[in-house]
Amino acid sequence: MSIWIPLIKIAVIIGTILNSVIVLVWAERRVSAFMQDRIGPNRVGPFGLLQSFADVVKLVMKEDIIPRNAYKVIHDLAPIISIGIAFSTFAVIPIGNSIELFGENVKLQVADVNVGILYILAITSLGVYGLTLAGWSSNNKYSLLGGLRSSAQLISYELSMGLSIIGVLMIAGTLRLDQIVELQASYIGGWLPAWNIILQPVAFITFVVAAFAETNRLPFDLPEAEPELVGGYHTEYTGLKFGLFFLAEYANMITSSAIIVTLFLGGWHFPYIENLGISPFWLSLLQVGAFCVKVVGVLLFFIVIRWTLPRFRYDQLMNLGWKVMLPLTLANVMGTGLVILAWPWIRNLLGLT
């Protein structure tokens, strides 16, 4: 029996992500159309909702072309790496508190890992392989340039990402994601939710910027900058394999949004709901709902930003990463440390208990 629970969890999570990706692509096209005063896809199904499903079918039916001089094995492997990493990050994210289902206490998290945050950092640091190998194995100059850009960009921004998480870790004192969420489910002064966005505003901003860079979203989509690089690392990919890269990009977006929500926006915490006296089962369901609403909010933010900001130039990207983000995150770690050290003294001064 017990082996079925993780398998069901995995199936549910992957199914949800796959379907969300399809809806997300539709949402992206509708939002962009709205922002540019167009209509967007509205022919297939109600509000054009089935357009993305039609696109998926189209991608699956297309011929798979591999260039003659490509390194075939690696060319095949690269999209699989990308999609695998996009999905496996989700394993440690708690989408809700534990719930009573069919007489069993089920934790709403696929893998409860002691070192959850480090797991996320490690897996996202592997994401660079998919793009780099795709760019290199295609044996195409544009692809290679895209792959090189992606490696340089991901390595530079990984650093700020890790350092901005350290601020959160110093407050939480644990690497477990479920405990980090539980710590956020309290209140400062009895009314203000103790979400990390309030306690760590600088870390939140740097983390979100780094997440944009890690997911290759505009304004950081240099690895696939269409006007300069044709299609960047996936220039030589067609059909289903191109579809996998496409899927991985959107799955990565969902995963990063979920991480942002978990670390900074209180995870599944629904403020003030504990006081209403709802039964534990419905409380858990509502918390899962709160998590989903937050994730969708962050995703909309991702989409709006994409259609608002132009692409960075390459040197601007590197300058931002190394000369602004890195010092900022380091200063944040220092500042957080000082405040934690001085906290007993400050508390006495303010007369708090």
Binding site: N114, L118, S125, T132
Partner: protein, 167 residues
């Protein structure tokens, strides 16, 4: 043989096999990719030994950091300059002597060490906490020396890059 033993030997075989490809392959790109599997196998062994922190750090630093740079460099020299980078054998005698000495040292260590065997099957709570405390108290000197080595490497790399520019 129970499942634990089977998985252990699978990972050990993968590590050894990939390691020998790294050493014996003439194509440096293949060697770099084999290194990827070797690192993964070692991370798998760490997980089996319930050293979760060590396993994740192995992935984070070796696979996600160092190896990316290695493959990056190999790919650049291979594709941009279009020169096939081959590995050859030079100075085999000193290399044999040095490796033999190192192997002897390792085997000696292996036999002389009093290995502590534990039958503990559950994860200790929060291994990261104890490791961090020990790194910054009892082992702070080796920890800092390691970072000095990295600094020296960084300065050296910058110096080499600068000199080429002037010429």
């Amino acid at each position: 043989m129970d499942l634990f033993t089977i998985i252990f030997y699978a990972f050990a075989l993968l590590a050894l096999g990939a390691g020998s490809v790294v050493v014996f392959s003439k194509n440096i790109v293949h060697a770099a990719f084999a290194l990827l599997f070797a690192f993964f196998a070692v991370a798998g062994l760490y997980v089996l030994l319930m050293a979760d922190f060590l396993a994740i750090t192995q992935l984070l630093i070796y696979v996600g950091g160092i190896l990316v740079l290695v493959i990056f460099g190999v790919m650049l020299t291979n594709t941009v300059i279009s020169v096939d980078v081959k590995t050859g054998t030079v100075q085999s005698m000193p290399a044999v002597l040095l490796s033999a000495a190192l192997a002897g040292m390792l085997v000696g260590m292996f036999w002389s060490t009093d290995w502590k065997v534990t039958t503990q099957q559950t994860l200790p709570e929060a291994t990261g906490n104890e490791l961090g405390t020990m790194l910054l108290t009892s082992y702070v000197l080796p920890f800092e020396i390691a970072s000095v080595v990295l600094l020296v490497a960084l300065v050296g790399a910058a110096m080499i890059a600068r000199r080429e520019k002037k010429a």
